[in-house]
Amino acid sequence: MINLYYAYQPIIDFFLLSVGFGYSQQIALRAGVFSIATAGFAAIGAYAVAILVTKTGFPIVGAVVLGMVIAGGAGLVLSLPLARLRGAFQAIATLAFVQIVISLLLFAEDFTGGALGITGIPRVVNTGVLIFIVAFVMYVMWSIGRTGLGRIFDALRQEESVAASLGVNIGRYHAFAFILSGAIGGLFGGLQSLYVFQIEPHNFGFAFMVNVLTVVILGGRTTLLGPIMGAAIMAILPELARPLAEYRPAVNGVILILVITFLPNGVGDEIVFWFRRRRHAAAAANRVKVKEAKNAVTSS
């Protein structure tokens, strides 16, 4: 069992980081914001932590928290000019944001080490730390889902005009979604920094963006299970398909197309929806039974 853990530890850690980035992506999509800024937030968090820890000797936990706050702040700042944009325009604007972040990282060589990045970051994050923090983020996402905030995000995604007609300040809640997406992305960016020893701008480029999006599209946009299923598929699949290693991007592409076509809500969301429907059907059936029993009593 122990040996099995060591053999698969990098995959488990990769999975846990992907889940974290997945939630950063998911919270934006859930609120109807077509943001793909998670890569930029992750880069900000990762570099903030790397610079603070290696160059200023900042305490590690403080650096992670500060990285999270900076990335959340970046989310807020990003949400302001994007308030009037929707759909594809939003996606393109957030893509530009990621490009700007990466360009800045490349050009500000004195701080960021340019294309070579930053090395010698202490490797203090392990599987246990990742599990703990993923669990914490899951708790927050779960809380959002069972309080009014989740319902407002769902309303914004499904029909913005309805949300407005009930008094929801659309700009403010889109900003919340951006801040949350930024803070979660920055948090896991910082953890990645403290896990991989060395970071460079390229880590947060196009491939990263596609991976994060794939996690949520494969897994699901609205449920807690979504990013977990998506990240699990992304982590396990290459292992199962080792003989096809050379064709990995092609295999990923085919799976993505199949999932979008046949399980458009994502694997995780579809599973949760199935159970939800069953539970609702049972509740409805139960109500009918109670009603009939009541009628039987009154008529006799």
Partner: protein, 254 residues
Amino acid sequence: MPSLHLEGVSKHFGGLKAVDGITMAVPPGEITGLIGPNGAGKSTVVNLISGVLSLTHGDIRLGGASISTDRADIVARQGVSRTFQNIRLLPEATVLENVMIGFHRREQSGLMANLFGLRAALREQREFRDRAHALLERFGLDEYAEFEAGNLAYGHQRRVEMARAIASEPAIVLLDEPVAGMNDVESDELATIFRELANSGMGLLLIEHNVGFVTRLCKQVYVLDSGRMIAAGDPHEVTRDPKVVAAYIGTSKH
């Protein structure tokens, strides 16, 4: 409860005067009717009041304060609620959740309480859930509480929308063709609910096509034709007004 006043309200789309200098009032505790043939500008009036469209001229006041330049969500937070002519529900959410979002205006718990699932936020949600069930019961919909709203029959969807609109107990409710497509039994049930709401102090503006329904319920009726107010007053007199009859069935050519 405050009343709603429109004074000389106009909306021009380019050269088209969709609404042309209308003046009307929606007092609390009463059902006020707004009727008129297709394309008269009735829904535009609803969109102007609720802040979806901005006015070209005129003023809209709620209890003395002008709301004519306020954004839709601000108008709603001040207590003006509405339904949509083309029903707008959250199709993926359940009927219960659709009504629960209606309580947003009454939400007290802060962002942190929501993020960390604090007891205050959860207690508030439980309270909203109970009240939503009670509302659904009142509209005869409680057996559909767990259904996805998008799968409901048309008439039921309309009622879900109304339950959602009155959930936060607004001062003024704008009902855009609430009984369209309903049979007599269903519209009678709704008429009862509307009267109860008015008796509780709400001001209802009933936008309708169905003249009979409006005549039965309203104390005051306004008639709109091509954006202009052509008549106003007691429903029985208004519906006999030759101008109104002409607008509805046309005049004979001699």
